[in-house]
Protein backbone atom coordinates (compact mmCIF):
# COMPACT_ATOMS: atom_id res chain seq x y z
CA UNK A 1 0.00 0.00 0.00
CA UNK A 2 0.99 3.55 -0.50
CA UNK A 3 2.73 5.10 2.47
CA UNK A 4 1.90 8.75 1.89
CA UNK A 5 -1.59 9.75 2.96
CA UNK A 6 -2.94 13.28 2.71
CA UNK A 7 -5.70 12.33 5.13
CA UNK A 8 -3.33 13.00 8.04
CA UNK A 9 -2.62 16.49 6.69
CA UNK A 10 -6.28 17.40 6.20
CA UNK A 11 -7.18 15.86 9.56
CA UNK A 12 -4.48 17.85 11.34
CA UNK A 13 -5.74 21.07 9.73
CA UNK A 14 -9.27 20.19 10.82
CA UNK A 15 -8.34 19.41 14.43
CA UNK A 16 -6.11 22.46 14.82
CA UNK A 17 -8.95 24.67 13.55
CA UNK A 18 -11.52 22.97 15.77
CA UNK A 19 -9.52 23.70 18.94
CA UNK A 20 -10.85 27.20 19.50
CA UNK A 21 -13.49 27.79 16.84
CA UNK A 22 -17.14 26.85 16.51
CA UNK A 23 -17.97 24.05 14.02
CA UNK A 24 -19.65 26.40 11.55
CA UNK A 25 -16.65 28.74 11.55
CA UNK A 26 -14.40 25.76 10.96
CA UNK A 27 -16.53 24.71 7.98
CA UNK A 28 -16.43 28.21 6.52
CA UNK A 29 -12.65 28.49 6.94
CA UNK A 30 -12.19 25.07 5.36
CA UNK A 31 -14.37 26.15 2.44
CA UNK A 32 -12.20 29.23 1.99
CA UNK A 33 -8.99 27.18 2.14
CA UNK A 34 -10.31 24.71 -0.44
CA UNK A 35 -11.58 27.48 -2.72
CA UNK A 36 -8.23 29.24 -2.50
CA UNK A 37 -6.35 26.02 -3.23
CA UNK A 38 -8.50 25.33 -6.28
CA UNK A 39 -8.09 28.85 -7.61
CA UNK A 40 -4.33 28.57 -7.25
CA UNK A 41 -4.42 25.19 -8.97
CA UNK A 42 -6.57 26.61 -11.75
CA UNK A 43 -4.23 29.47 -12.58
CA UNK A 44 -1.11 27.36 -12.16
CA UNK A 45 -2.52 24.67 -14.44
CA UNK A 46 -3.37 27.30 -17.01
CA UNK A 47 0.11 28.80 -16.96
CA UNK A 48 1.93 25.46 -17.06
CA UNK A 49 -0.30 23.88 -19.71
CA UNK A 50 -0.10 26.86 -22.06
CA UNK A 51 3.68 26.81 -21.79
CA UNK A 52 3.74 23.03 -22.30
CA UNK A 53 1.45 23.32 -25.31
CA UNK A 54 3.65 25.91 -26.97
CA UNK A 55 6.83 24.00 -26.27
CA UNK A 56 5.36 20.70 -27.49
CA UNK A 57 3.93 22.35 -30.60
CA UNK A 58 7.36 23.78 -31.28
CA UNK A 59 8.93 20.36 -30.73
CA UNK A 60 6.61 18.78 -33.27
CA UNK A 61 7.29 21.52 -35.79
CA UNK A 62 11.08 21.52 -35.26
CA UNK A 63 11.07 24.97 -33.68
CA UNK A 64 12.29 26.20 -30.32
CA UNK A 65 9.06 27.80 -29.14
CA UNK A 66 9.07 30.72 -26.68
CA UNK A 67 12.68 31.41 -25.65
CA UNK A 68 12.95 35.13 -24.84
CA UNK A 69 11.19 35.69 -21.52
CA UNK A 70 13.15 34.02 -18.74
CA UNK A 71 15.33 30.96 -19.11
CA UNK A 72 13.89 28.82 -21.97
CA UNK A 73 10.94 31.17 -22.06
CA UNK A 74 9.55 29.89 -18.77
CA UNK A 75 8.11 33.28 -17.78
CA UNK A 76 6.43 33.70 -21.19
CA UNK A 77 2.95 32.60 -20.10
CA UNK A 78 3.10 34.69 -16.92
CA UNK A 79 3.91 37.72 -19.07
CA UNK A 80 1.04 36.83 -21.40
CA UNK A 81 -1.30 36.56 -18.43
CA UNK A 82 -0.32 40.05 -17.23
CA UNK A 83 -0.92 41.38 -20.73
CA UNK A 84 -4.36 39.78 -20.84
CA UNK A 85 -5.34 41.25 -17.48
CA UNK A 86 -4.31 44.75 -18.56
CA UNK A 87 -6.23 44.59 -21.84
CA UNK A 88 -9.45 46.50 -22.36
CA UNK A 89 -12.59 44.35 -22.15
CA UNK A 90 -14.41 45.16 -25.38
CA UNK A 91 -18.12 44.59 -25.96
CA UNK A 92 -19.59 44.80 -29.45
CA UNK A 93 -22.23 47.46 -29.94
CA UNK A 94 -25.22 45.24 -30.64
CA UNK A 95 -24.22 42.46 -28.28
CA UNK A 96 -26.62 41.27 -25.63
CA UNK A 97 -24.47 42.62 -22.79
CA UNK A 98 -25.89 40.51 -19.99
CA UNK A 99 -25.47 37.21 -21.80
CA UNK A 100 -22.17 38.33 -23.31
CA UNK A 101 -20.74 38.84 -19.83
CA UNK A 102 -22.41 35.77 -18.38
CA UNK A 103 -21.02 33.26 -20.88
CA UNK A 104 -17.38 33.12 -19.65
CA UNK A 105 -18.58 32.66 -16.09
CA UNK A 106 -20.81 29.70 -16.97
CA UNK A 107 -17.89 28.03 -18.68
CA UNK A 108 -15.46 28.69 -15.86
CA UNK A 109 -18.07 27.56 -13.32
CA UNK A 110 -18.60 24.20 -14.98
CA UNK A 111 -14.84 23.71 -15.19
CA UNK A 112 -14.43 24.53 -11.51
CA UNK A 113 -17.20 22.18 -10.46
CA UNK A 114 -15.68 19.37 -12.47
CA UNK A 115 -12.22 20.06 -11.07
CA UNK A 116 -13.64 19.76 -7.55
CA UNK A 117 -14.36 16.07 -8.02
CA UNK A 118 -10.81 15.14 -9.06
CA UNK A 119 -9.07 12.68 -6.75
CA UNK A 120 -5.57 14.18 -6.73
CA UNK A 121 -3.90 11.84 -4.28
CA UNK A 122 -4.64 9.46 -1.47
CA UNK A 123 -6.87 11.44 0.88
CA UNK A 124 -6.65 14.60 -1.25
CA UNK A 125 -10.13 14.73 -2.66
CA UNK A 126 -12.50 17.67 -2.26
CA UNK A 127 -15.81 16.10 -3.36
CA UNK A 128 -16.22 12.36 -3.15
CA UNK A 129 -19.83 11.79 -4.16
CA UNK A 130 -21.50 8.45 -4.40
CA UNK A 131 -22.43 9.49 -7.95
CA UNK A 132 -18.90 10.64 -8.88
CA UNK A 133 -18.84 9.93 -12.61
CA UNK A 134 -22.47 10.93 -13.13
CA UNK A 135 -21.74 14.21 -11.35
CA UNK A 136 -18.76 14.88 -13.60
CA UNK A 137 -20.64 14.23 -16.83
CA UNK A 138 -23.53 16.35 -15.54
CA UNK A 139 -21.34 19.28 -14.63
CA UNK A 140 -19.18 19.20 -17.72
CA UNK A 141 -22.30 19.28 -19.91
CA UNK A 142 -23.00 22.78 -18.54
CA UNK A 143 -19.98 24.21 -20.33
CA UNK A 144 -21.60 23.90 -23.74
CA UNK A 145 -24.35 26.29 -22.65
CA UNK A 146 -21.68 28.93 -22.04
CA UNK A 147 -20.25 28.35 -25.51
CA UNK A 148 -23.66 28.61 -27.18
CA UNK A 149 -24.53 31.81 -25.33
CA UNK A 150 -21.13 33.32 -26.12
CA UNK A 151 -21.57 32.65 -29.82
CA UNK A 152 -25.10 33.94 -29.99
CA UNK A 153 -24.78 37.07 -27.90
CA UNK A 154 -21.71 38.53 -29.60
CA UNK A 155 -23.73 39.36 -32.76
CA UNK A 156 -21.17 37.98 -35.15
CA UNK A 157 -21.63 35.44 -37.92
CA UNK A 158 -18.38 33.66 -37.18
CA UNK A 159 -19.21 33.38 -33.51
CA UNK A 160 -22.64 32.00 -34.29
CA UNK A 161 -21.32 29.35 -36.67
CA UNK A 162 -18.60 28.43 -34.19
CA UNK A 163 -21.14 28.07 -31.40
CA UNK A 164 -23.42 25.87 -33.51
CA UNK A 165 -20.58 23.60 -34.49
CA UNK A 166 -19.46 23.41 -30.91
CA UNK A 167 -22.95 22.59 -29.70
CA UNK A 168 -23.39 19.76 -32.21
CA UNK A 169 -19.94 18.44 -31.40
CA UNK A 170 -20.10 18.51 -27.63
CA UNK A 171 -23.62 17.12 -27.42
CA UNK A 172 -22.74 14.16 -29.62
CA UNK A 173 -19.34 13.35 -28.16
CA UNK A 174 -20.66 13.51 -24.62
CA UNK A 175 -22.42 10.23 -25.33
CA UNK A 176 -19.19 8.48 -26.21
CA UNK A 177 -17.40 9.84 -23.16
CA UNK A 178 -20.22 8.67 -20.90
CA UNK A 179 -20.51 5.23 -22.48
CA UNK A 180 -16.78 4.55 -22.45
CA UNK A 181 -16.67 5.49 -18.77
CA UNK A 182 -19.64 3.19 -18.15
CA UNK A 183 -17.62 0.31 -19.55
CA UNK A 184 -15.24 0.65 -16.63
CA UNK A 185 -18.07 1.27 -14.18
CA UNK A 186 -19.30 -2.20 -15.17
CA UNK A 187 -15.91 -3.54 -14.10
CA UNK A 188 -15.49 -1.50 -10.95
CA UNK A 189 -19.11 -1.80 -9.82
CA UNK A 190 -19.25 1.75 -8.49
CA UNK A 191 -19.59 5.33 -9.66
CA UNK A 192 -17.62 6.74 -6.75
CA UNK A 193 -14.10 7.83 -7.64
CA UNK A 194 -12.49 6.62 -4.43
CA UNK A 195 -14.01 3.17 -4.91
CA UNK A 196 -13.03 3.02 -8.57
CA UNK A 197 -9.47 3.75 -7.54
CA UNK A 198 -9.61 1.27 -4.67
CA UNK A 199 -10.83 -1.42 -7.07
CA UNK A 200 -7.65 -0.96 -9.10
CA UNK A 201 -5.27 -1.80 -6.29
CA UNK A 202 -4.44 -5.14 -7.86
CA UNK A 203 -3.87 -3.61 -11.28
CA UNK A 204 -5.12 -0.84 -13.53
CA UNK A 205 -8.32 -1.51 -15.41
CA UNK A 206 -6.70 -0.88 -18.76
CA UNK A 207 -4.53 -3.98 -18.16
CA UNK A 208 -7.07 -6.09 -16.31
CA UNK A 209 -10.08 -5.38 -18.51
CA UNK A 210 -8.92 -7.26 -21.61
CA UNK A 211 -9.68 -5.81 -25.04
CA UNK A 212 -12.92 -3.97 -24.13
CA UNK A 213 -11.04 -1.76 -21.67
CA UNK A 214 -8.48 -0.90 -24.34
CA UNK A 215 -11.24 -0.05 -26.83
CA UNK A 216 -13.04 2.02 -24.23
CA UNK A 217 -9.82 3.88 -23.41
CA UNK A 218 -9.18 4.68 -27.07
CA UNK A 219 -12.74 5.91 -27.56
CA UNK A 220 -12.53 7.92 -24.36
CA UNK A 221 -9.38 9.69 -25.50
CA UNK A 222 -10.85 10.50 -28.93
CA UNK A 223 -14.19 11.66 -27.57
CA UNK A 224 -12.55 13.51 -24.70
CA UNK A 225 -10.32 15.45 -27.08
CA UNK A 226 -13.41 16.30 -29.11
CA UNK A 227 -15.32 17.40 -26.03
CA UNK A 228 -12.65 19.92 -25.07
CA UNK A 229 -12.86 21.42 -28.59
CA UNK A 230 -9.20 20.75 -29.24
CA UNK A 231 -7.56 19.90 -32.50
CA UNK A 232 -8.08 17.83 -34.65
CA UNK A 233 -11.63 18.54 -33.51
CA UNK A 234 -11.23 22.31 -33.10
CA UNK A 235 -13.85 23.26 -35.71
CA UNK A 236 -15.65 25.62 -33.32
CA UNK A 237 -12.62 27.88 -33.41
CA UNK A 238 -11.12 26.98 -36.75
CA UNK A 239 -8.80 29.94 -37.27
CA UNK A 240 -8.67 29.73 -41.03
CA UNK A 241 -12.44 29.88 -41.54
CA UNK A 242 -13.96 31.45 -38.44
CA UNK A 243 -11.19 33.75 -37.12
CA UNK A 244 -11.63 32.46 -33.56
CA UNK A 245 -15.08 30.90 -33.50
CA UNK A 246 -17.33 31.53 -30.55
CA UNK A 247 -14.88 33.76 -28.69
CA UNK A 248 -14.00 36.05 -31.60
CA UNK A 249 -15.47 39.12 -29.92
CA UNK A 250 -14.00 38.54 -26.50
CA UNK A 251 -10.89 40.31 -25.27
CA UNK A 252 -8.85 40.71 -22.14
CA UNK A 253 -9.82 38.78 -19.06
CA UNK A 254 -12.99 37.29 -20.54
CA UNK A 255 -11.01 35.80 -23.39
CA UNK A 256 -8.55 34.50 -20.80
CA UNK A 257 -11.43 32.71 -19.11
CA UNK A 258 -12.29 30.81 -22.28
CA UNK A 259 -8.66 30.05 -22.90
CA UNK A 260 -8.01 28.86 -19.35
CA UNK A 261 -11.18 26.79 -19.30
CA UNK A 262 -10.07 24.98 -22.44
CA UNK A 263 -6.76 24.00 -20.93
CA UNK A 264 -8.21 23.06 -17.56
CA UNK A 265 -10.87 21.00 -19.33
CA UNK A 266 -8.06 19.14 -21.01
CA UNK A 267 -6.59 18.51 -17.57
CA UNK A 268 -9.97 17.27 -16.34
CA UNK A 269 -10.40 14.85 -19.24
CA UNK A 270 -6.88 13.56 -18.71
CA UNK A 271 -7.58 13.33 -14.98
CA UNK A 272 -10.74 11.28 -15.49
CA UNK A 273 -8.91 9.05 -17.94
CA UNK A 274 -6.05 8.56 -15.50
CA UNK A 275 -8.44 7.84 -12.63
CA UNK A 276 -10.77 5.48 -14.41
CA UNK A 277 -8.43 3.61 -16.70
CA UNK A 278 -4.93 4.09 -15.28
CA UNK A 279 -5.62 3.63 -11.60
CA UNK A 280 -5.66 7.24 -10.37
CA UNK A 281 -2.99 7.68 -7.74
CA UNK A 282 -2.37 3.92 -7.48
CA UNK A 283 1.30 3.09 -8.10
CA UNK A 284 2.30 0.75 -10.90
CA UNK A 285 2.60 -2.84 -9.72
CA UNK A 286 3.69 -5.95 -11.54
CA UNK A 287 2.26 -9.23 -10.26
CA UNK A 288 4.56 -10.79 -7.71
CA UNK A 289 7.65 -8.62 -8.06
CA UNK A 290 7.75 -7.65 -4.37
CA UNK A 291 10.91 -5.55 -4.59
CA UNK A 292 9.75 -3.65 -7.63
CA UNK A 293 6.33 -2.98 -6.07
CA UNK A 294 8.00 -1.70 -2.86
CA UNK A 295 10.07 0.80 -4.82
CA UNK A 296 6.98 1.95 -6.70
CA UNK A 297 5.16 2.45 -3.39
CA UNK A 298 7.79 4.97 -2.32
CA UNK A 299 6.79 7.38 -5.07
CA UNK A 300 4.09 9.62 -3.55
CA UNK A 301 0.56 9.22 -4.87
CA UNK A 302 0.46 12.88 -5.94
CA UNK A 303 3.32 12.22 -8.36
CA UNK A 304 1.60 9.14 -9.73
CA UNK A 305 -1.58 11.05 -10.45
CA UNK A 306 0.11 14.05 -12.03
CA UNK A 307 2.50 11.83 -13.96
CA UNK A 308 -0.34 9.90 -15.55
CA UNK A 309 -2.25 13.09 -16.25
CA UNK A 310 0.81 14.66 -17.83
CA UNK A 311 1.23 11.60 -20.04
CA UNK A 312 -2.39 11.77 -21.22
CA UNK A 313 -2.15 15.51 -21.82
CA UNK A 314 0.96 14.93 -23.90
CA UNK A 315 -1.03 12.37 -25.87
CA UNK A 316 -3.79 14.92 -26.53
CA UNK A 317 -1.28 17.55 -27.63
CA UNK A 318 0.32 14.97 -29.86
CA UNK A 319 -3.09 14.44 -31.54
CA UNK A 320 -3.51 18.14 -32.05
CA UNK A 321 -0.20 18.72 -33.77
CA UNK A 322 -0.30 15.54 -35.85
CA UNK A 323 -3.74 15.23 -37.40
CA UNK A 324 -5.39 17.72 -39.76
CA UNK A 325 -8.69 19.25 -38.72
CA UNK A 326 -11.87 17.29 -39.53
CA UNK A 327 -14.81 18.66 -41.48
CA UNK A 328 -18.11 18.93 -39.64
CA UNK A 329 -19.76 16.06 -41.52
CA UNK A 330 -16.72 13.85 -41.00
CA UNK A 331 -16.79 14.76 -37.33
CA UNK A 332 -20.41 13.81 -36.85
CA UNK A 333 -20.06 10.68 -38.96
CA UNK A 334 -17.11 9.53 -36.86
CA UNK A 335 -19.20 9.86 -33.71
CA UNK A 336 -22.60 8.55 -34.76
CA UNK A 337 -21.59 5.89 -37.27
CA UNK A 338 -18.41 4.53 -35.73
CA UNK A 339 -17.71 5.45 -32.12
CA UNK A 340 -21.23 5.10 -30.73
CA UNK A 341 -22.06 1.65 -32.19
CA UNK A 342 -18.60 0.35 -31.28
CA UNK A 343 -19.14 1.68 -27.79
CA UNK A 344 -22.53 0.04 -27.32
CA UNK A 345 -21.27 -3.34 -28.50
CA UNK A 346 -18.22 -2.87 -26.32
CA UNK A 347 -20.33 -2.33 -23.20
CA UNK A 348 -22.28 -5.53 -23.90
CA UNK A 349 -19.03 -7.38 -24.45
CA UNK A 350 -17.62 -6.03 -21.19
CA UNK A 351 -20.77 -6.94 -19.26
CA UNK A 352 -20.50 -10.46 -20.67
CA UNK A 353 -16.86 -10.73 -19.59
CA UNK A 354 -17.67 -9.49 -16.09
CA UNK A 355 -20.61 -11.91 -15.80
CA UNK A 356 -18.43 -14.83 -16.83
CA UNK A 357 -15.65 -13.63 -14.53
CA UNK A 358 -13.05 -13.63 -17.29
CA UNK A 359 -11.34 -10.43 -16.22
CA UNK A 360 -8.30 -10.62 -13.96
Amino acid sequence: MNIYDFKSLTDSIHTSLSVNLSPSAVTIIEFIIIAFAFMMLFTLLGLILVYAERKIAAFFQLRLGPMRVGKWGIAQTAADAIKLILKEPLVTKNADKFLFNLAPFIIILSTFMALGAMPFAKGLHALDFDIGILYLTAVSSLGVIGILIAGWSSDNKYSLIGAMRSGAQVVSYELSVGLSLLTVVVLAGSLQFSEIIASQEAGWWIFRGHIPALIAFTIFMIAGTAETNRGPFDLPEAESELTAGFHTEYSGLKFAFFFLAEFVNMFIIAGIGATVFLGGWMPFHIGNWEGFNRIMDFIPSLFWFFGKVAFLIFLMMWFKWTFPRLRIDQLLRLEWKYLLPINLVNILFMAFIVLMGWHF
Partner: protein, 163 residues
Protein backbone atom coordinates in the same frame (compact mmCIF):
# COMPACT_ATOMS: atom_id res chain seq x y z
CA UNK B 1 -33.53 31.74 -0.19
CA UNK B 2 -33.27 29.06 -2.84
CA UNK B 3 -37.01 29.10 -3.44
CA UNK B 4 -36.96 32.91 -3.70
CA UNK B 5 -34.27 32.64 -6.39
CA UNK B 6 -36.30 30.03 -8.25
CA UNK B 7 -39.40 32.23 -8.13
CA UNK B 8 -37.57 35.37 -9.24
CA UNK B 9 -35.93 33.63 -12.17
CA UNK B 10 -39.18 31.92 -13.14
CA UNK B 11 -40.93 35.30 -13.34
CA UNK B 12 -38.00 36.81 -15.26
CA UNK B 13 -38.06 33.91 -17.68
CA UNK B 14 -41.73 34.46 -18.41
CA UNK B 15 -41.52 38.23 -18.71
CA UNK B 16 -38.27 38.50 -20.66
CA UNK B 17 -38.78 39.76 -24.19
CA UNK B 18 -35.64 38.14 -25.54
CA UNK B 19 -35.98 34.48 -26.33
CA UNK B 20 -32.50 33.37 -25.37
CA UNK B 21 -32.56 35.30 -22.11
CA UNK B 22 -35.79 33.55 -21.22
CA UNK B 23 -34.05 30.23 -21.86
CA UNK B 24 -31.15 31.24 -19.62
CA UNK B 25 -33.49 32.28 -16.81
CA UNK B 26 -35.17 28.91 -17.20
CA UNK B 27 -31.72 27.36 -16.79
CA UNK B 28 -31.31 29.17 -13.48
CA UNK B 29 -34.73 27.96 -12.33
CA UNK B 30 -33.70 24.38 -13.06
CA UNK B 31 -30.38 24.87 -11.25
CA UNK B 32 -32.37 26.09 -8.26
CA UNK B 33 -34.44 22.89 -8.31
CA UNK B 34 -31.24 20.83 -8.48
CA UNK B 35 -29.98 22.73 -5.43
CA UNK B 36 -33.17 21.74 -3.58
CA UNK B 37 -32.38 18.10 -4.24
CA UNK B 38 -28.81 18.62 -3.05
CA UNK B 39 -30.04 20.22 0.16
CA UNK B 40 -32.35 17.23 0.64
CA UNK B 41 -29.25 15.00 0.31
CA UNK B 42 -30.63 13.36 -2.79
CA UNK B 43 -27.50 13.43 -4.92
CA UNK B 44 -28.65 11.10 -7.65
CA UNK B 45 -31.77 13.06 -8.49
CA UNK B 46 -29.80 16.32 -8.45
CA UNK B 47 -27.30 14.93 -10.94
CA UNK B 48 -30.07 13.54 -13.12
CA UNK B 49 -31.81 16.91 -12.98
CA UNK B 50 -28.63 18.58 -14.22
CA UNK B 51 -27.97 15.99 -16.94
CA UNK B 52 -31.50 15.81 -18.30
CA UNK B 53 -32.78 19.35 -17.92
CA UNK B 54 -29.67 21.49 -18.24
CA UNK B 55 -27.44 19.31 -20.37
CA UNK B 56 -30.28 18.07 -22.52
CA UNK B 57 -33.40 20.16 -22.67
CA UNK B 58 -32.00 23.66 -22.17
CA UNK B 59 -29.20 22.95 -24.63
CA UNK B 60 -31.82 21.79 -27.13
CA UNK B 61 -33.83 24.99 -26.52
CA UNK B 62 -30.79 27.18 -26.98
CA UNK B 63 -29.77 25.27 -30.06
CA UNK B 64 -33.15 25.70 -31.71
CA UNK B 65 -33.18 29.38 -30.75
CA UNK B 66 -29.76 29.81 -32.35
CA UNK B 67 -31.02 28.19 -35.53
CA UNK B 68 -34.26 30.12 -35.82
CA UNK B 69 -33.96 33.63 -34.42
CA UNK B 70 -31.64 36.59 -34.49
CA UNK B 71 -30.10 38.66 -31.72
CA UNK B 72 -32.10 41.80 -32.47
CA UNK B 73 -35.42 39.99 -32.44
CA UNK B 74 -37.80 40.78 -29.63
CA UNK B 75 -40.95 39.00 -28.61
CA UNK B 76 -44.20 40.92 -28.83
CA UNK B 77 -45.75 42.21 -25.66
CA UNK B 78 -48.80 40.15 -24.82
CA UNK B 79 -52.21 41.80 -25.20
CA UNK B 80 -53.88 42.95 -21.96
CA UNK B 81 -56.77 40.49 -22.29
CA UNK B 82 -54.42 37.56 -22.77
CA UNK B 83 -52.33 38.78 -19.85
CA UNK B 84 -55.36 38.89 -17.55
CA UNK B 85 -56.55 35.42 -18.59
CA UNK B 86 -53.08 33.95 -18.11
CA UNK B 87 -52.73 35.61 -14.71
CA UNK B 88 -56.14 34.28 -13.65
CA UNK B 89 -55.37 30.75 -14.74
CA UNK B 90 -52.01 30.74 -12.97
CA UNK B 91 -53.56 32.19 -9.82
CA UNK B 92 -56.25 29.50 -9.82
CA UNK B 93 -53.60 26.83 -10.32
CA UNK B 94 -51.50 28.19 -7.47
CA UNK B 95 -54.61 28.40 -5.28
CA UNK B 96 -55.56 24.78 -5.92
CA UNK B 97 -52.00 23.59 -5.22
CA UNK B 98 -51.77 25.66 -2.03
CA UNK B 99 -55.14 24.49 -0.72
CA UNK B 100 -54.21 20.86 -1.32
CA UNK B 101 -50.83 21.25 0.37
CA UNK B 102 -52.27 23.10 3.36
CA UNK B 103 -55.07 20.60 3.99
CA UNK B 104 -53.07 17.45 3.35
CA UNK B 105 -51.35 16.06 6.43
CA UNK B 106 -47.90 14.73 5.63
CA UNK B 107 -46.88 11.61 7.45
CA UNK B 108 -43.61 12.17 9.31
CA UNK B 109 -40.78 10.55 7.39
CA UNK B 110 -38.29 8.33 9.19
CA UNK B 111 -36.02 10.64 11.18
CA UNK B 112 -32.70 9.60 9.67
CA UNK B 113 -33.42 7.97 6.35
CA UNK B 114 -30.39 6.01 5.17
CA UNK B 115 -28.49 7.55 2.29
CA UNK B 116 -29.73 6.15 -1.00
CA UNK B 117 -26.86 4.86 -3.09
CA UNK B 118 -26.71 4.47 -6.83
CA UNK B 119 -26.32 0.76 -6.30
CA UNK B 120 -29.70 0.51 -4.58
CA UNK B 121 -31.37 2.64 -7.24
CA UNK B 122 -29.95 0.45 -9.98
CA UNK B 123 -31.07 -2.83 -8.42
CA UNK B 124 -34.48 -1.40 -7.58
CA UNK B 125 -34.92 -0.13 -11.13
CA UNK B 126 -34.37 -3.54 -12.66
CA UNK B 127 -35.86 -5.79 -10.01
CA UNK B 128 -39.06 -7.64 -10.82
CA UNK B 129 -39.88 -8.41 -7.20
CA UNK B 130 -41.96 -6.28 -4.87
CA UNK B 131 -41.60 -2.51 -5.46
CA UNK B 132 -39.47 -3.30 -8.50
CA UNK B 133 -39.54 -0.90 -11.44
CA UNK B 134 -38.66 -3.18 -14.30
CA UNK B 135 -42.02 -2.87 -16.09
CA UNK B 136 -42.14 0.96 -16.19
CA UNK B 137 -38.47 0.93 -17.15
CA UNK B 138 -39.09 -1.33 -20.14
CA UNK B 139 -42.25 0.52 -21.16
CA UNK B 140 -40.42 3.84 -21.13
CA UNK B 141 -37.56 2.41 -23.17
CA UNK B 142 -40.00 1.14 -25.80
CA UNK B 143 -41.69 4.56 -25.83
CA UNK B 144 -38.32 6.27 -26.32
CA UNK B 145 -37.46 3.90 -29.14
CA UNK B 146 -40.76 4.66 -30.84
CA UNK B 147 -40.16 8.39 -30.45
CA UNK B 148 -36.68 8.05 -31.91
CA UNK B 149 -37.89 6.10 -34.93
CA UNK B 150 -40.66 8.63 -35.44
CA UNK B 151 -38.13 11.46 -35.37
CA UNK B 152 -36.00 9.71 -37.97
CA UNK B 153 -39.03 9.14 -40.20
CA UNK B 154 -40.03 12.81 -39.99
CA UNK B 155 -36.50 13.98 -40.71
CA UNK B 156 -36.25 11.70 -43.73
CA UNK B 157 -39.53 12.72 -45.27
CA UNK B 158 -38.46 16.34 -45.53
CA UNK B 159 -35.39 15.46 -47.52
CA UNK B 160 -37.08 13.52 -50.30
CA UNK B 161 -38.26 16.35 -52.58
CA UNK B 162 -34.74 17.85 -52.68
CA UNK B 163 -33.16 14.73 -54.18
Amino acid sequence: MGSALVLIFAIMSVTSRKLLRAAIYLLFVLIGVAIFYLVLDYMFLAAVQIVVYMGGIVVLFIFSILLTSHLSEKLQVVKPLEFIIAALVSLIGAGVALSVISTHTFKPVVADSPEITVFEIGTQLLSYGKYGYVLPFEVISVLLLAAMIAAIVIAKREKKPES
